[in-house]
Every structure is written in structure tokens, then in C-alpha cells.
Symmetry: none
Subunit: 418 residues, 2 copies
């Protein structure tokens, strides 16, 4: 059963506006076991809308169409659908009564343009709209169900929850259970190569999708079907186990948590504190760690030491060391990690120094060269990295590498993070 969501509105075809209703609708549909196969966005142009509705009715069994039900000239969804289905528009007195009542409560006369909203394609059921003037419409034939919904979030979302979802329940195919596994430290193609057996082993009803951006990867497992929740969870557990074997060392989270949440939980568990020394990450490391509520329990401080003088004065990195090896070097990274640990009194010190670009690179030290270091009671560790991408990507990957260094230090058993 194919499901399609259509969003109508010329503003949704500009660079400034984005349809977000469909995300909420999708979550609701998923919760009753329905997946969305197509999303389409079209403007207020009647010919374009006709095309889009015709295409949708040709390929989808359930079509949710939102927007274009208002009182203005632009709003053509009702009329367009009636033409396509060759149904008359019928005047509904009840709609007029409700809209009139709504205006009355505000002490206003009903506007003439609102009369338009009282015309409805023959045979359509009306979905009441307590939060606006445009009623929703439900039209069912043997071949498809089409639902017209108003566009404003405060109107569509309550209507969808209270009137559309209940009608759809039972038309779904069982339930949907999802799981998100997140990884860092390897490339997309390397991950895919290692996932080959997992793809092959995935039982019917399970979809595996992957997503990659520089420094961060995720694997999403979705089980949909007529199956009990317990059985679905067991199936996903089995797949997760296979994925753990194939990719354990790179997995940092098995329930979609961010790396900073995982690191925070590890520190909290062990009653340890952390402090950072940042050069090329510019504060992003501290920013990410403090995005987690309650992080003040373990995060003490971050010294964003961009200038060499700050590296020396704040962290005690010897000026001679910087002179000899350069600010971007394994030696300085190590000294920064030791320096922040000592001066902050934290259990763990982490440091990042590198060249974020676009300027500042040399053949020997190119843009993207980043050292990440960790210092704790037992000693230090430094990693040399060469990251690709622009300034923002290099900064992100630097912070990711430093956080992952903490994770690996605190939870050295691959795949057993929490």
C-alpha cells in the first residue's frame, strides 16, 4: 500500500520556506505501520496541481494533501480535486454555520470569501477544524482514499491526530519498530563493504538504510509488518548483533544518541571530570559537550587557545616547543592535553590542534591536518588525522575525533558502550 503526502503552496517552492508538517504526519503514519513512499510539493498553480493529484491517484492508495483550502483566490485544492474526480461541488450549510459561529465569537462578521470554503466535492466527509475556518475532507473510493487537510500547523496537526489517524488505524500493516546505530572513524564505502553480510541476512520486512556525512555515519534498521513488538525487537536485536560484530570498534551509539551524550554518560558513570584545550575546533568541542543538559556535573572548562601566546600562558605549552615543532604538531597537541588537565584539575584533558582552512596550509602541513590528544592519569595518546572538506567539516571532524578518543579510552571494549 503506497502512501503519498502532497504539500500545496507556492511559498514551499521558494528558498525560504520548508514543509515541516509532513514530518509529523509521517511519524503518525509510521506509528500505525504505514510508510510514506512519495512526498510532492507543488505551487498554487491549478494546472500543476491537477498534474500532481492525477499522478498521486495513479500510484498511491492513500493520498494526504495539505494546503490550498483557505478562502483566497490562490486556494484551489477543493475545486481542482472535484474537477479531476468529476464530482460536483455541494454547498454545506453546517460548514457555514460553524464558520459564522467562529467569527461571531471574535465579534467579527463572516467574510464573503469564506463562503467558498462551504463548497465540498460530492460524497466527501467533513473533518471538523476547531482551529481555523477550513474544514478537512475525507474521500474514499474502492481504489484510493484521499484526505484534504488545511496547511497551517496549528490546524492540520490536531485534525490529523484526532480525526485522520483514528480513521486510518486498521488500514495499516502491523507496526513499525526502528533503531539507529551511529558510528564514527571509518568511511562510507568501508562501512558498506563490512555490511554486505548484514544486508544479505536481513529478514523480509526489515529495511536497512545508511547515512553518511564527514565524521559521522548512521545505520537505520526499520522493521514493519504484522508482527508483535516483542518479535520485532528480537529481530532487530539479532541484526544489531551482526552489525556489532562487523563494525564494533566504530559504533558509538545504538539508540541514536549523539557522541557528546555518550561521552557525557560515560563520564557521569565513572564520576570523572573533563576539560578541553581547543585550537582549530574554536570552541565547538566545549559547545557540543555543553549541549547536553546537566553537563556542568562533569565539564569543567575549555580553553580555546587560538593564539600561540594563549597556548603558552593558559596551558603552559613551552614557546620553544611551538617554535620547534609548530603549533600544529603531535608534540604541541600532547602538551595542550597535559596542560589543560593540570591547570583545570580535571580527570581527563583533551586537546585539538590543526589547520581548518581555507588558508594556512603548506605542502608538509596541509589544510585538514589535525592532531587530537588525550591526557589522563595513566598517560597520553595522540592521533594524527587528515580530514577532507571545508572549514566547517574540518572543525566538526576535529571535535568528533577528540570526543571519540574519550569514548574509546573510557569504554575500550568494542561495541559495549553503555
Amino acid at each position: 500500500m503506497k502512501v503519498e503526502i502532497i504539500a500545496v503552496g507556492t511559498e514551499l517552492l521558494t528558498p525560504d520556506f520548508q514543509d515541516t508538517n509532513s514530518l509529523r504526519l509521517t511519524a503518525g503514519l509510521n506509528s500505525i505501520g504505514l510508510k510514506v513512499s512519495f512526498k510532492t510539493i507543488v505551487g498554487d498553480d491549478e494546472r500543476d496541481l491537477t498534474r500532481v493529484l492525477r499522478t498521486a491517484l495513479g500510484r498511491s492508495r492513500l493520498v494526504l494533501c495539505m494546503g490550498g483550502l483557505g478562502p483566497t483566490e490562490d486556494d484551489r485544492t477543493r475545486e481542482t480535486l472535484a474537477k479531476i474526480l468529476r464530482r460536483k461541488l455541494v454547498f454545506h450549510k453546517e460548514i457555514r454555520a460553524r464558520v459564522r459561529e467562529r467569527f461571531k465569537r471574535r465579534g467579527l462578521p463572516m467574510s464573503a470569501s469564506n463562503l467558498k470554503q462551504c463548497y465540498v466535492p460530492e460524497g466527501a466527509e467533513i473533518l471538523d477544524n476547531p482551529n481555523g475556518t477550513a474544514p478537512g475532507l475525507w474521500l474514499e473510493t474502492k481504489r484510493y482514499t484521499i484526505v484534504l487537510l488545511p496547511g497551517p500547523p496549528q490546524e492540520i496537526l490536531p485534525m490529523f491526530e484526532s480525526q485522520v489517524l483514528p480513521r486510518l488505524t486498521g488500514s495499516g500493516r502491523g507496526l513499525t519498530v526502528r533503531r539507529i546505530i551511529r558510528l564514527t572513524g571509518l568511511g562510507e564505502s568501508a562501512m558498506e563493504t563490512r555490511l554486505k553480510d548484514v544486508y544479505a541476512a536481513a529478514p523480509a520486512g526489515v529495511t536497512i538504510t545508511t547515512l553518511a556525512s564527514p565524521g559521522d555515519l548512521s545505520i537505520r534498521l526499520t522493521m514493519s509488518g504484522k508482527i508483535s513488538r516483542l518479535a520485532a525487537v528480537a529481530l532487530l536485536d539479532g541484526l544489531e548483533g551482526m552489525i556489532g560484530k562487523a563494525l564494533g570498534p566504530w559504533i558509538y551509539s545504538r539508540n541514536g544518541e549523539s557522541l557528546e551524550e555518550i561521552v557525557g554518560a560515560l563520564l557521569r558513570d565513572r564520576s570523572m571530570t573533563i576539560a578541553c584545550a581547543e585550537s582549530c575546533s574554536g570552541g565547538l568541542l566545549g559547545h557540543r559537550l555543553t549541549d547536553v543538559p546537566g553537563s556542568s556535573d562533569y565539564f569543567l572548562e575549555s580553553a580555546v587557545v587560538y593564539s600561540n601566546r594563549a597556548k603558552t600562558r593558559r596551558l603552559g605549552v613551552p614557546a620553544a616547543l611551538i617554535e620547534k615543532h609548530g603549533a600544529v604538531s603531535a608534540q604541541v597537541a600532547r602538551a595542550m592535553a597535559l596542560g589543560i588537565r593540570k591547570t583545570s584539575g580535571a580527570d581527563i584533558g583533551i586537546a585539538v590542534t590543526g589547520i581548518a582552512g581555507p588558508g594556512g596550509g603548506t605542502p608538509r602541513k596541509p589544510v585538514g591536518l589535525v592532531y587530537a590528544a588525550i591526557a589522563r592519569g595513566r598517560g597520553t595518546k595522540v592521533l594524527r588525522n587528515l580530514f577532507f572538506g571545508g572549514r566547517a567539516q574540518v572543525k566538526f571532524q576535529s571535535s568528533q575525533k577528540a570526543l571519540d578518543l574519550v569514548r574509546k579510552t573510557l569504554a575500550p571494549t568494542p561495541g559495549k558502550v553503555l
Copy 2:
């Protein structure tokens, strides 16, 4: 001429992901006079993708299709398009050479799955991808032009700007000129009230749209039509003048620049340096300042002093002052700004201290209470703020307020920022 954008990826049909590339593509297309008529989102299912591509080629003259070009099993766009067009897939040695070179630079062997990306529908031109392994493809027939682009933003956006837009120039109808005015420090409804006369004065062909998020507002002026660039610019200049009169003190940028770019340009102009002391912003202030390429010329350091001990040790904030007034107080904010200025040797010191939430609030000092302070040669200034929103919003607004304090200090004439 109908233009359609297709986004391919099963994750884009879940509640968690949204296509944002299309907004940037739309902005680029608009800039050369092309409007988008349809946007479609489809999963990695080959049959669904076939349907969507067939529909698009039937109704649109230009089709931009992004995603599904990667090395994995899921990535089927190339193959699907070849089947629809009944073209063979041809192996391109140059692609293999480039991908191999890319892996070599990282010191890795080329993965076998990447070989897939070297097969291209016959007759397609190759668009080089300096930021990833998947090349883009350009296929032109008498009836339509179809462009396949990679999905990751860091790959598609540079490719679109540097290779797709230049090829499309000249195929538009008339031109579109846009301008983005950005503001901070006032609410959305206050801005709308002050814009009333501007809306009324806007000539035909000009669209004014506004966008608001906590701490940041923007006004977008778009002029489209058969008009010379000079005339369009003059029209927008007139409107911008009106907006400047109505909203001058809150405007920080008139060409879409971010606040950190504006502050960076002001510091560079005056050959001044800056350093930050951050508590509740957690490093975001340093992160934003260092997002600007070349910021090492004026940004010295940021002390992210989350713990009270760090405030005292790093910045010399007297423990007694914290004891007496609390870490979140005007007195401590001022001492932090003075402390970072003195210890860093910067011309300007800025500081932020507050309660980001969700925990830590009291009736007298609620979540969202934030003090921002600035210290320079002539003295100090402290602002008390009460921000709404969650942790992320409070952090962002804190950084925004501190940066705006720098802007206002360095460019005190309202509306004359650069």
C-alpha cells in the same frame, strides 16, 4: 519552462530527516530567473524511483535529481535513469583515476564498491566532484535536461554553484535579484508592525518575506521580472532605505552576512583583537567567531569557564564576588569581561554568564536569565536578558547578544554597519 527537483533517499521519508539542499538549489535557480514548479521526494526503492523519474521527464523541461549516486547497494539513481532512457552504462577510466587518487591521498586503497560509481549512462557529461567520490552527471536531449547530483550538502552545493548554474545561465526568463536584511534584538511581531508601510510601498514584482527564529530575524526582498539588473537593484535600494528607517538599530547585515562575519569585518577594519569568556554559551561564541575564515587575525582566545574555580583561576574573578552575587550576575559578567581582556591582552573582552536550563533555575534567577558584558579601553557595559526557549535556543541567543554588543560598540550609528 517547468523545473523539478527530486530528492532520493529513504531517510527523507522518515520523520527525522528533511531535504534542505533543495532550498539552496532553489535560491540559485531563482538568481538566474528560473522558478521551481515541482519538488518530489522518493525512497531508494527502484520501482518508486522509476515512476518518479518518468513523471518528472513527462512534465518538466529541467530535472535536478539529487542523491543515490553513492557506492552502496541502495544507490540506484544512475542505473534507474539508464534503464528509463534505454542507455547503456559505460565505464569511465577518468572517474576511477580520480577516486583512486582521492583514496591514495588518504593513504587508503580504493574500495571495490566505488567501482560502481565509474559506470555512467552513455552520452552523459561528467561533473567533477572535488568533495566526494560520486561525480555528477549532465544529460541533455531535445526535450529535457536532467542533472544527477550527489546528496551530501558538502558535495552537491559546490558542484551546483560552480558547474550546474553556469551551464544553466541564459535558460531563464528575465532575472531575479534578491537581498537579505538580517536583524537581532527585537521580536517578530514588533518587526512586522514596523514593516507595515514597507509592505504597502512595495512595487509590483517585489516579494517581501520574513523569517524569524529566537534571536535572529531576516527580511528577504525578491524582485523578479523582465527588468534590467540596474533597475531592479535601484528598486531594492529604495525599499532597503525604508526598512533602514523603520528598523535601523536592529539591522546588523544588509547582504545576508552572519553576525560573526559582520563583527569580524569590524574588528579587522579597526585592527582590533577580541577574546571571550563564556559560561552558559559553552564555547559557542568562540565556535561562531572562528567559523569565519581568517578569524585568527583578530580572535585570540575564549575561556569557557563552566566551573566557578575556572572563573577565578583563569580570569581572576574574585571567589568572594561569585559567593556574594552568584555566578549568574551582572557583577560576575563584568568581572569576566574585564578578566579575559586583561589576561588575554585583547582590545575587547566579551563575556556571557547565564542559566541555559533545563535545570538550575530559581524563582529569582530563572532559566533563560543571561548577562552579556563587554570590556574595552573606555569602560564596560553589561546587559541583562531573559531568553525564552530550550537549552540550544538560550545558548544561541546568549552568543548572539554578546556579538551584537560588539557590533553596537564598534559601529554605533544605527543602520550604518559596514
